[in-house]
């Protein structure tokens, strides 16, 4: 099986007095097709771990290999390129551009990773169809409901056809019905072969995943799926 993510003794310490060790010597392997949730109280280091996984931050010590590449040996620009083509992000706050149409928002996920211009609209349209928003492409985000906005964000994340989809509290701003439908969507994406790592503090979300990892004070405890 191909490892998508390999962490070996990864720590992340934020300087200060006293220094804060947000992630403590973590070992973790995620293989292709995994559906994993990381749960834990706030301040446990979940987001920091996700940032490291997404190459948005780098570990203070330890080795992180993404798709077999040692990210510590890569330049800033190469790590940026790597996440641009291989990692999709979904955030709690959506981060949609309010003045741009839905399809343009999805297309921002395709600007920087050399997707040919003529393919972008097509791929963005496909991604929107995939999340069930094919009929809303010319709307702007303020005209959409919270669940729809998050679907747009997911479409933007998957339009570039990444290997790994990282979600940081994707349902944090949504009610339970909407959450269910988003989780159904994650199940479908997983079936398409996407590797999913989801950070959440909601039991409802973590129950759907195959692998559940609990994070406490920067350390990981893997529990068998219920």
């Amino acid at each position: 099986m191909n490892s998508v993510v390999e962490l070996e003794g990864v720590s992340r310490t934020f300087p200060g007095s006293p220094p804060v060790e947000a992630v403590k010597s973590v070992d973790l392997t995620v293989v292709a097709g995994d559906y994993m949730t990381i749960v834990g109280p706030s301040g446990s280091g979940k987001s920091t771990l996700l940032h490291i996984l997404g190459c948005l931050d780098r570990p203070t010590t330890g080795i992180y290999r993404l798709l077999g590449l040692d990210t510590g040996s890569l330049s800033d620009g190469l790590r940026t390129s790597l996440r641009g083509s291989e990692v999709g992000f979904v955030f709690q706050a959506f981060h949609l551009l309010p003045y741009r149409s839905v399809i343009e928002n999805v297309m921002t996920g395709l600007i920087y990773n050399r997707t040919p211009r003529r393919l972008r609209r097509q791929r963005a349209g496909e991604a929107l169809e995939r999340v069930g928003l094919g009929h809303r492409i010319d709307f702007t985000p303020p005209q959409l409901s919270g669940g729809e906005r998050q679907r747009v964000a997911i479409a933007r994340a998957i339009a570039a056809r990444p290997t790994l989809l990282l979600c940081d509290e994707p349902t944090g701003n949504l009610d339970s019905n909407t959450t269910e439908s988003i989780l159904d969507l994650f199940d479908e994406l997983r079936t398409d072969g996407l590797t999913l790592v989801i950070i959440t503090h909601e039991e409802l979300v973590s129950r759907r995943a195959e692998r559940r990892i609990e994070m406490v004070d920067g350390a990981l405890i893997e529990r068998a799926a219920s």
Binding site: L56, L69, L78, T80, S81, R83, Y99, R114
Partner: protein, 419 residues
């Protein structure tokens, strides 16, 4: 983990890029996202460019009008008079050194278009009247200047006849008792037709009116005077010598003629003549114009500076507002330079639009002012054309600091802050 398919080599990574076309598209979209704010931001640049273009155009336009209309007259006028010798008890009348044939002497100089003498005739206080009509209520005798001129003077002052004719060399040589009236003098003397050569009286002397002058371009005193040939003045009124010589020169020849005139008129004692020439025209005018130019250019420059600061300010605010967008773009694979390029392109695009609007409005201002003043608008083509890259450059410079700030944001911080 090397799995033999070369997965572990960095060369496999698809490098992020931002094509020029995408950059421009993103910049324009960013600019159009909030059109109202963008227009207000651009306003400062627009005003600065308008000020600069209009200033350059209007100084050029008005400068052209001065040269073509007013100054041509002044710039070609030279006059020569006697330097009055002041005695101990006050000014004493000197003996004029100007010859009666001054006009003929001067016309031979290259650059002289016309020349003639002008002398106030001493009539010993004699009043002027037309044919006596005994009207007890109306005044029929007037104190009026009698001026003796050589025939060339009519050319010098561009005299325009209302009716009749000028006198000529023959009248002067024969000492004919003829006169030409200025329009003002003719009206006072009730002379309006000259076919019958009506007589007027200067004291006891009878003169036949042969013409009426309607307009003169200089020496307006002529219009209220009785004008007689200099030969007549010499014979009838014992006028000793001409008092002044007036010269009209070719455009640009005034300075040279000014140097030569005194010598041509009085070779033995040129120092007794006072020559008035117009100030060296080019120098005065360019001084005035440069001063005007530079003042308005400084104003325009200040307006542009304020405009640039406005763009810089708004771009900086929008960077802070769009922190989340910056984080998202960084997550989507945008490198620092791509973020910097985008904000730089946005501010440059605002400067570009400001330049276009400013240049257009500036030209409109020039045309509007010219139309109102009935001037011919004159503008160097390069001024509005340069305004456009100039505006872009200003936008670019204004965007340097904000875009640098945007590019320094850490993606993690940007995503966290931009909720």
């Amino acid at each position: 983990m090397s799995d033999g398919k070369g997965r572990s080599t960095a060369s496999r990574i698809v490098r992020s890029r931002l094509s020029l076309r995408d950059l421009i598209t993103e910049a324009i979209s960013g600019m159009l996202a909030r059109p109202g704010r963008t227009m207000l931001t651009i306003l400062g640049t627009v005003l600065g460019v308008v000020a600069l273009v209009a200033t350059l155009g209007l100084t050029k336009t008005s400068g052209n009008q001065i040269v073509t209309r007013i100054d041509e007259l002044q710039a070609t006028s030279v006059s020569v008079s006697n330097r009055s010798e002041g005695g101990f008890f006050g000014p004493r009348r000197g003996i004029s050194v100007i010859p009666w044939d001054a006009g003929d002497r001067l016309i031979r100089l290259n650059g002289v278009v016309a020349a003639g003498t002008l002398t106030r005739v001493d009539t010993a206080g004699a009043l002027v009247s037309s044919v006596p009509v005994n009207d007890p209520l109306g005044q029929s005798e007037f104190a009026m200047d009698v001026l003796a001129v050589s025939h060339g003077l009519f050319d010098v002052v561009l005299a325009d006849l209302t009716t009749g004719r000028f006198f000529d060399v023959g009248h002067s040589q024969r000492h004919d008792p003829v006169a030409v009236l200025g329009s003002g003098a003719a009206a006072r003397l009730n002379v309006s037709r000259v076919e019958q050569q009506p007589a007027i009286f200067v004291g006891d002397t009878t003169l036949a009116v042969i013409g009426i002058v309607g307009e003169v371009s200089r020496e307006p005193a002529l219009l209220n005077s009785v004008i007689i040939p200099d030969g007549t003045a010499r014979a009838v009124f014992n006028t000793e010598a001409p008092a002044e010589v007036h010269i009209r020169t070719e455009l640009g020849a005034a300075q040279l003629i000014g140097q030569q005139a005194a010598l041509a008129l009085a070779p033995n004692n040129p120092e007794q003549l006072r020559v008035s020439v117009p100030p060296a025209l080019g120098a005065v005018q360019s001084d005035v114009q440069e001063e005007l130019d530079s003042q308005f250019l400084i104003l325009g420059g200040i307006a542009l500076l304020v405009g640039a600061i406005g763009i810089a300010n708004v771009t900086l605010v929008s960077v802070l507002e769009r922190v989340g967008e910056i984080g998202l773009r960084r997550a989507a694979g945008a490198r620092r330079r791509h973020i910097a390029a985008q904000f730089l392109a946005e501010s440059a695009a605002m400067g570009f639009v400001g330049g276009i609007l400013g240049a257009s409005l500036g030209v409109l201002v020039i045309v509007g002012v010219s139309a109102q003043r009935q001037w011919t608008p004159v503008l160097d083509l390069y001024v509005p054309l340069l305004a456009i890259p100039g505006g872009t450059l200003i936008g670019l410079i204004a965007g340097l600091y904000p875009s640098w700030r945007a590019s320094r944001l850490e993606p993690v911080d940007a995503l966290r802050a931009g909720t």
